[in-house]
Symmetry: C2
Subunit: 481 residues, 2 copies
Amino acid sequence: MSALESLRARLAELADLSSLGRLAAWDQRTMMPPGGAAARAQQFAALERLTHARATSDEIGAWLGDVDGDGDLSDVDRDVVRVARRDWEHLRRVPVDLAAARVQASAEAQAIWQVARAGSDFAMFAPALERNVELAREYAACFDNGGHPYDALLADYDYGLSAARVQEIFGPLAQALPPLVAEAAARPAAPDLPVPVEAQQAAVLGVLRRLGVGDEQWRVDVSPHPFSLAMSPTDLRVTTRYTGASVESLLAAVHEYGHALYEHQIAPELARTNLGRGTSMSVHESQSKLWENHVARHRAFATVMAAEFATAGVAVEPDALHALVKRVRPSLIRVEADQLTYPLHIVMRFELELALIDGTLAVADLPTAWNDGIRRLLGVEVPDDARGVLQDIHWAAGSFGYFPSYALGCLIAAQLWECLESELGPQDDALRSGDVESIRAWLGEHVHRHGRRLDTEPLVARATGGGIDADPFLRYASAAA
Amino acid sequence: MSALESLRARLAELADLSSLGRLAAWDQRTMMPPGGAAARAQQFAALERLTHARATSDEIGAWLGDVDGDGDLSDVDRDVVRVARRDWEHLRRVPVDLAAARVQASAEAQAIWQVARAGSDFAMFAPALERNVELAREYAACFDNGGHPYDALLADYDYGLSAARVQEIFGPLAQALPPLVAEAAARPAAPDLPVPVEAQQAAVLGVLRRLGVGDEQWRVDVSPHPFSLAMSPTDLRVTTRYTGASVESLLAAVHEYGHALYEHQIAPELARTNLGRGTSMSVHESQSKLWENHVARHRAFATVMAAEFATAGVAVEPDALHALVKRVRPSLIRVEADQLTYPLHIVMRFELELALIDGTLAVADLPTAWNDGIRRLLGVEVPDDARGVLQDIHWAAGSFGYFPSYALGCLIAAQLWECLESELGPQDDALRSGDVESIRAWLGEHVHRHGRRLDTEPLVARATGGGIDADPFLRYASAAA
């Protein structure tokens, strides 16, 4: 085998192992009986150790050296080699002991966090969080590239972005969005629609079928936290949840559909290479948010959703449904936030974790900073740390650098949607009849097919003609307000 | 790490990879949308390659060498090392090219077999079968231990048994069973009971709950061919199938429960070692057959099953139910055979594959030999090869040596049941009230807990005081006839 063939065989193996890991994760969250938990944790650990060993082995370095001599690689192969080199060098920068210490500290901190959150006891959690911050800083120091230490953490989720760039993007958002939220929230709140769970289930399946979800390549299941995982581009699994009489199940299902469609439409030639998955957390989130914010929350699409509820035996006025899914109400909990307040929850978390990492904010001062931020950005008082600084698992898991992608996804979604409508024309008529074929095709062409060949901001630039930009989202928010 | 610790760590890794493979297999057969098939096949291949590399590596040989010096191993560790050495030497006997050729020939032959079976065209299948036989003989030649070449094939499913020993066991069975079958089949056949699928589903869950199946550690799903796989000893997955108005779903579910219970009751100290699974195909089959033949087909248990049908709204007389599940009718298809004719289907397959492997039967003569055997043992005429020699996948898959375990399982089950009742007393009263606690405990103590520490016949000897023996099954058959 040539160096390229050897490299590609190893990358295929790593892709297969990654698929098995996703299957184990999907099963854990949908099917596994509780008794399977301990063994499953060991299986994940074994897979992680093996994957790390296979992804960092010396052979890869040798193949990367030899392939350089080849010269006339195809465009795809050049990208395969470029990203393989980047990943290999990245993984090998981190000492094994440090990686193990992070995993262990993360597991311990999550266990403490669960108890601390239940008792709203931040002091109990603080030492574990301090340990996570310290290890994150050590990890960042492995990549001394002259920038902010946060840049290295961000790179694990969104390669190529920097703390400075995120600040530049989030700055205008933090200024302009709160007044729009206040304006929208001042209007009379649309009332809840009491839709029985059975009708929700039927509507979820009906709406997803309209979006192209069929039995040949999809599964729709239930999980406590909705998620989506692609076992392969033609084996797509989305979940939603049914929590009493609400239409949240429908928004969640459409959101997860957006994630899955991304993996579905990656160019087949990238399958089982290192390029055959979504390029970053923020682009992935842009895909879920595009379908959630710009399709499911579109006035025209309310007609389709109402029709599916009607088929399920529940009469809902499209206007009432649209008003409900667009309702804006500042609140305490990120995962329950509406489409306008959501990015503000994220902007604050980004500011706080940046300050934790560069040492300008002490862990002890975090609850006060949190409560001040929520008051400043959302005008809400935090009654206790359980509903404040302790609500998310990310810091307990040591996942600093993850949060920004949630808000960047909202912004990129709005940019893509503006571009899509400017190229294809307004989608009102198509959405009213539930025809999303043009939207799927446009996203496939401009976003999905590239896989990891383009990083976040180059991909956005190529699709929209510019970098990440808060203005389209702010226009979306103005229209809503 | 000491040599023993290193060895144990590798064995734990292999156990974890094996669990992931079982998860992938379970998912493939219960949950996976059709679009996932191609990628899943690649994932299996990747797992197989990686597992083979990790199971045959030189390091294991070094650890096995070093551990010899230690001297004072625990009993379990001595068995861990003994079986690890056996497995490692076994795997390394086979050249990589031969192993790969067998896998490829198996895949190709299965594809041809599917078409050939659909068209009842043995001639189309014959060359692929010849190739499988040839490769099986090459494989057997890797283990030139002076015995019959079939012994090496048998060892992959039932270590320690030999062709001669199986002939010795099956001989009396092939003589004594056909007249008993004829006697039972001569009686008026019990009529079918038309039980709607919904009632069957309720009864399956109700009966399994009586046997100890709870949501904490079990799943019950549907698949075209019922099976059972343990993700771990506390994550057990059984399936059944519902094919129209029949009680087959119930027998299949109890059969699969028997397999799963075996894995469930293996001693916890053997978890994630090379000993932490059922010891052989025939002992595994003995566990499913014990629950199917001796519990589900027990007169007293018909009361429990009828009660569950009644709860599901279907009135069934226990006597009628018992007569139905005990009904004997010689037929063409192995997987549809009743409890008495089933071993005869197997005895014939064993004789034929033994002759194929030692070269005394040519592939071209196989259909005639098959049809003669069915006439001789079951008194039935085979109308075409689709319902004859082409019905099973095993030879297409190259799995010679697998068939005997199905009949050995029936025999061992009868032996264990006689022993169990002689030690615990007749189980009629307990079964009438659905109390299987003593049965579970007895099997746990005498069979399950040992895992792979005892091979098939030593385990049977320890549990029953003698080797594998057809007499108890023949007594069971006489009582039925």
